[in-house]
Amino acid sequence: MLDQLAEWLDDRTGYRTLIRTFSEEQIQGGARWRYVFGSTLASVFLIQAVTGVLMMTAYSPSSASAWGSVYYINNIMWMGWFIRGLHHFGASTVMVLLVFHLLQVVLTGAYRKPREVNWWFGLALLVLTVSFGHTGYQLPWDQKGYWATKVMTNILGGAPLFGPYLKTIVVGGTEYGNQTITRLYGLHVAILPILMILCLWAHVMLARRHGLTPPARPERWAAETYWPAQTFRNVAFLSIVVGIMVSLDLIKGGAPLDAPADPSSSDYPARPEWFFLCLFQMLRHFPGRLEWVGSIVIPSTILLVLFLVPLLDRILPSRFLHFLACAGVFGLLGGAGYLTVEALKADAADPQFQEARRKADAAHERALFLAASPQAGIPPEGAGFLLRHDPLTHGHAALEKKCLGCHFLGGQGTGEQTAADLKGFGSRTWVRGLLENPAATAYFGKVPSLGGMREWKKRSKLNGKQLDDVADFVASFARIPDDLTAEEWLISPGVAEHPGNQPFQKECGQCHIIEGFTEGGTRDAPGLFAWGSTRWLSRMIRKPGAPDLYGFFEDKAQMPPFGPDQLRGNDLEMIIRFLHNDYPLMPGTELKGTVAGVTVKMNDQVADQKY
C-alpha cells in the first residue's frame, strides 16, 4: 500500500531520482571527516530556522512589548527557555563551524579554479551570518540588546560620507525605539533569511557541480558513494555538535535576558557577544577620530583580500599564494584570539566593570522577579516601566539622588550629613529611637536647628513604658487615611482610648500642634497630624517651608522644596513607597538596603577602598 503510494508519487514527481543524485554521488578518494563542516553548517542553519520560526509565534517586536514577550517565552511557555537557548547557542555554534569550514577550504586550497565563484558565495554567507548574529541579540530589547544596538549603529554612523544617513535609516530615526526594533526584526527574520537561502542554495549547487575537493592522489583510496559513508560521518559529527549545543543550553538554563532597556542607566557595562569581542577590543586601540578605521576599514580590507585570493592565484605562484593564504588566516585567527583574551582579561581585572556587571545582574534578577510577582507584573506601558515603577529600585535611586546629599539612609549618604537618617522614617522604631535619644546622629544630632526635641528630652518625665506608648501612637499617624480630617480622626475608634494619647497630649502637644487636640505654643514645631503618611511626606517634600511644617525656620536651615520640576510625580511616589517598604520582596531577602542592587552607593565606596 505504502509502496504503491510511493510509486505513484515518484511517477508524478521523480523525487527518487532527485534523492539518488544526492545519495549516489561518487566521492573520489572516499568519504572523509574533513568534508563534514559544510553539511553540519547547513544543518545548524536549519535548526536556527526552526527554533527561530517557533519564537516568531511568540515574540512581539516593539519597544514596549519585546522584553515582555521574551520573558514570556523564557519563563512561562513550555520549553521556551530551551528553544530560545538552542537558538542562542546555535548562533555561537555557527560562528565556530564557519571558522572551521573556512580553515578547511583554505588549507586544501579549495578557493582555486574552478571554485572561485563558490568561494565568493562562501564569503557572502560569512557576512550574512555575522549580520544574523548582530541583529539577533538586540531583539529582546534588554539592556544588552539596547546598548549593543546603540554601539553598532553608531559605528555605522561614524563611517565617512554616508555614515550618518545610513545610521538614521537603520535606526528608523534619531531615537532608538519601535522603528529600530521593527527594522532589526525585519532584517533578522525576512531579509537576511531570504538572502541566506539564496546564497546557501547557490553555494550547495556549485559545490555539487564541482564535487568535493579530493585529496592530492585520490586513486590511493577506493571511491565511495555519498550515502551512507559520508552521510554517517556528517550525522555523527552533527550529533556531537548538537550534543554540545544542548548541553550548553541545559547547563546555562537557556539564553540570558538582562533587565529591560533603560536609556537612562549610566553605568551599564555593554559588551557584545563573545564572537564580536575581538572587534570590540580592537576599537579600544583606536583613537576616537580614527574609530572608523578599526570598525570599518580593517574588516572590509580583510574581506576584500579574501575576495581577491582566487584571482591572485592567477598572478602569483599558486604554492606561494597558498602559503600566504594559510599564514594570513591563521594570523587573523591568532589576532582575534589574542584580542578576545585581552578583552576578557581587561574586564576581569577591572573592578569598575565587575561592580557595574554586579549591579546589572541585580537589576536583571529584580526585573525577572517583578515580572512574575502577582503584586507587580509587567505594566501595560511596557517592560521599561517595570523597574521605574518599583520603589525598591527607582524609589531608592531617586532618594539617593535627591535626598541623600543631606539625609542619610542606614548610616550611609552621598554627602555630609546635615539631616536625619531616613531609614525606617515614619515607623515605630524610628519614633521610639528619636524619643530615646534625639541627639543621636541618626536623628537630630547633626541638625543644630532642631534643638527642641533635645530640650524636651532633658525635662521629660515620661518613663520607658509611656515612651513605648507614645511611639505606638505616633507611628499610627502614618496609617491615617488620606480623606480623614484631624477632627474626624480624633473621634474615630481607637484614638481617644490609645494609651499613648494622654502622654502625647501632655508633653508633645506643648510644641506640636494638632488642631482640636494639642495647643503647642511652647516652641515652634512641625504639625504631626498624619505624620509619616503619604500625604504628610509628599507635603514635607514639596513644601517643607509651609507654616504647618518648618515655616518657622530661617531660609538657611530650611530643607529645599522639591516641586514637580525638581521631582516628578512618579519619583515622589516611588520615594514615599520606598520609605514605607511598600514593594514586593524576593523571598529570602531583607527589607531595604540589603537587597542586591540597592546598596549602590555603599558598594561603590567599598569598592573604591578595596582597590
Binding site: I76, W78, G80, V235, A236, P379
Partner: protein, 177 residues
C-alpha cells in the same frame, strides 16, 4: 553487520535522535497555551456590580465586569473583561436576582435584548432566549449560562456576581478553566 550497514543504521538512529531533540520541545512550545497558569486557574472572586434597588423587577440590565486582566506577559489593572445581564425577580422569589453572562452558548457573541425589550436575541445567528434563559429556537445548544449571585446583608444589598466563561456549542455548561 557490514561497514555499510553500520553507516546506514548509524545515520538513521542518530538522525532521528537529533530530530526528536528539536521536535519534542517544539511541540511542547506550540502547545504552551494548554498550560494552566497559577493566576488564571485561581479561584474566581465575586464582584459587586450594583445595589438591588437600582434594578427594576423583570427588566434586564447589563453591567460590565471589571477585573484585573493578564494578557500573556502584561498585567492590566481593572479592565472590562465581559458583561452580564441582571434580572431582578418578583419579591419573595429565590433567588432575588438572576445573572446571565452575555456570552452566547452558541459561538460566543454578545446576547442583546430584542427591539421590543421582551426577550433576548443574539445578533450573530439569531439564538433567541426568554428572560429565564430558555432557548426559543433551535440555534442555541443550551440555555443561557447562569452565573452565581450573592446578595450582601445591607438594607439595600449589593449584588455580587461570580463571572465565569463556559465552553461554547456544548450541551452542558462546562466552565473554562
Amino acid at each position: 553487520m557490514t561497514r555499510r550497514d553500520f553507516y546506514r543504521y548509524g545515520s538513521i538512529v542518530l538522525g532521528s535522535l537529533i530530530k526528536l531533540v528539536i521536535a519534542v520541545p517544539a511541540v511542547a512550545f506550540l502547545a504552551s497555551p494548554l498550560r494552566k497558569r497559577g493566576q488564571d486557574a485561581g479561584e474566581v472572586a465575586f464582584a459587586a456590580l450594583t445595589s438591588l434597588n437600582q434594578l427594576k423587577v423583570g427588566v434586564p440590565r447589563s453591567f460590565a465586569i471589571i477585573q484585573d486582566q493578564t494578557d500573556a506577559w502584561i498585567k492590566y489593572p481593572s479592565e472590562p473583561v465581559g458583561s452580564v445581564w441582571l434580572i431582578r425577580q418578583p419579591a419573595g422569589t429565590k433567588p432575588e436576582v438572576i445573572a446571565f453572562t452575555v456570552e452566547c452558548p452558541h459561538l460566543g457573541c454578545a446576547i442583546n435584548l430584542t427591539a421590543d425589550g421582551k426577550s433576548f436575541l443574539c445578533p450573530c445567528h439569531a439564538s433567541a432566549f426568554d428572560f429565564d434563559g430558555k432557548p426559543q429556537n433551535q440555534v442555541p445548544p443550551r440555555p443561557m449560562d447562569r452565573l452565581d449571585v450573592e446578595l450582601t446583608a445591607e438594607p439595600d444589598p449589593q449584588v455580587r456576581v461570580k463571572f465565569q466563561r463556559f465552553r461554547t456549542l456544548a450541551q452542558e455548561r462546562i466552565p473554562l478553566a
